[in-house]
Amino acid sequence: MPETNSNGRANAGRKRELRVDLQRIADMVDPKCRLLDIGCGDGALLDYLVHEKGVDGRGIEISTAGVNACVTHGLSVIQGDADTDLEHYPDAAFDFVVLSQTIQATRNPRQVLEDMLRIGRKAIVSFPNFGYWRVRLGLLFFGHMPITKALPYDWYDTPNIHQCTIKDFMRLCDRLGITIERSIALNHLGHVRRIQSSDFLANLVGEQGVFLLSKQGK
């Protein structure tokens, strides 16, 4: 957690620089929109969006330390869980609902995705791509569960219980009638590649996928 003074302020005058994948998400968000960030961690993305893009931002975070750090920095964040707390929100409450690096850790990713597009006009989802070549090589050549920069856990203590590839994710969107408005793959250097339909290469070189989603009729 960041250093704080007795009044709990840490970010006064802080320069807001985002991790490259979070910056890509931030670029997809309209200024001054209403936004919910699910799994907002220590609030880096939310803080950026609130202060740099004038967003009316809220967050949900599962860890007590993350929530307290966010609220201490003046962000509107609740302690909660993507799997259990989304059902309480009304339809179309937000312009954007963001789920960054979290969908693979939810118990019911499909329900979470549907809830996101129920309570938000648009959804932005980013996740580590299990089709990334280093992941594939790890399994193919070394015969053990892959450990990479984006997937740093051993199989027995990983929170990532629903791994998927970029291709898997696109297939689920198709099945749920979700429109992929924009999709990009980020390689390990953070370089962007726009994902075409049935893009074999993106699924291979992309360490992460970032998707802007909407649903017909919304």
Partner: protein
């Protein structure tokens, strides 16, 4: 000495010089939920800090069951520091150098606001049980009248723990336009069966004391000290947690090497509870205890809105910060989460933090650094968002 010769005034009479006093309802009376009109009634309150030129930096603190208006300065009867002096004061979490802090003694209380111990102007005698039964909403309406009197249309924040948190919730739902931010701490949107049960034990213990005299003890110069002390002992257990009790006392003996095979306070925990009980009666009125616990039992915010808590907050623009404590079994995190879910259901702006502490319900009164960081950060962020200028900030600062 005959009964009539005894001055019918509580020995708890607060010195008139302590704190601030006003008479409210002199024009339009306060219509209570029970249907009675309360006219020309006293309200005792305390303020700290300075109201800024825009009159926008006011914070109302709502006190809990056994609290009072003396948040941050010595209690006039006991001389002990104010009940929230750790959190409220110059440079503290609720910074009186920046904010104008108001706290009033609740309706039904015993520190100068209208309550059963005060004199009924129509009879010239203490109200006793003829005082109308009041509710949390009545307390809040009386506070709103005080703010009218002080010329404050909108509060920067309304903050309170326990019963104070119930008033915070009531404030936000009754007067959403008068409340920019609301901080309900260690509280619930309704009293549970368990909450009511503990209160009933307290009330029965007071009413079982022969000195209670059907509620008319002041007329007889009597006081149900035993009953009130036991009520406090029971309640005090609910404010702590099992780990906190164990840490403080364990099975340690009180000033003795071994058990006495008798019913003295052999154990430290017994001695501690007896002390809590016996000091409480020096500053609290037994009938007030009945009225205020009743108001808490009657509290059910959802019921006021047809059963759905979310409807209490429909289209609300107030920013909320709900805070609970892990070891609070009286007003649990689950109860706080219900409030959060209701606020989510109307897409209200809400923060919710659960603070890890083993100090039980009383955590909000104690030195809990994480709690203070969260509360301070929330207030700071909201002050920045709403452009609230502290009374100590010049135009250049803002």
């Amino acid at each position: 000495m005959s009964v009539s010769q005894i001055e019918p005034v509580s020995r708890l009479a607060v010195p008139k010089t302590a704190g601030l006093h006003v008479r409210l309802g002199t024009g339009t009376p306060l219509r209570l939920d029970c249907g009675v009109d309360l006219a020309d009634f006293p309200m005792a309150y305390q303020t700290y800090g300075t109201l800024n030129a825009e009159r926008s930096n006011a914070i109302l603190i709502c006190h809990a069951l056994s609290g009072d208006q003396f948040v941050a300065d010595p209690h006039p009867l006991t001389g002990r520091p104010g009940w929230w002096h750790l959190a409220v004061g110059p440079g503290k979490v609720i910074d009186t150098d920046r904010y104008f802090v108001i706290c009033s003694n609740v309706l039904g209380g015993c520190m100068g606001t209208a309550g059963p111990k005060e004199i009924n102007p129509e009879t010239g005698e203490p109200w006793g049980l003829t005082f109308p039964v009041i509710t949390i909403a009545d307390m809040v309406r009386a506070q709103a009248m005080l703010l009218d009197y002080l010329g404050i249309t909108q509060l920067f924040s309304v903050i309170g723990g326990s019963m104070g948190g119930m008033q915070v919730l009531q404030w936000a739902s009754t007067y959403p336009d008068r409340v920019l931010t609301a901080v309900p701490i260690a509280t619930a949107a309704h009293h549970s069966a368990q909450n009511i049960a503990f209160h009933e034990v307290g009330r029965q213990s007071i009413m079982a004391d022969p000195e209670w005299r059907g509620g008319d003890y002041l007329k007889y110069g009597a006081n149900p000290n035993r009953g009130l002390a036991i009520a406090r002992m029971v309640a005090h257990i609910t404010y702590l947690s099992e780990p906190a009790l164990h840490r403080k006392f364990g099975r340690r003996l009180q000033d003795r090497a071994q058990i006495t095979f008798g019913f003295d306070a052999d154990f430290q925990v017994e001695s501690y509870l007896r002390h809590q009980g016996s000091t409480f009666v020096d500053r609290f009125d037994a009938n007030s205890y009945l009225y205020i616990t009743r108001a808490m039992d009657y509290f059910d915010l959802a019921e006021q809105y047809g059963g759905l808590l979310a409807d209490a907050f429909d289209r609300i623009a107030t920013r909320f910060c709900v805070i609970s404590f892990t070891s609070d079994w009286l007003y649990t995190t689950a109860a706080s989460r219900d409030i959060v879910h209701a606020l989510n259901a109307v897409a209200a702006n809400v923060s919710f933090a659960e603070i890890i502490s083993d100090n039980g319900h009383d955590s909000f009164l104690l030195e809990e650094l994480e709690f203070w960081k969260v509360l301070g950060g929330f207030l700071e962020g909201a002050a920045e968002h709403f452009g609230i200028r502290g009374s100590n900030e010049t135009d250049e600062d803002a």
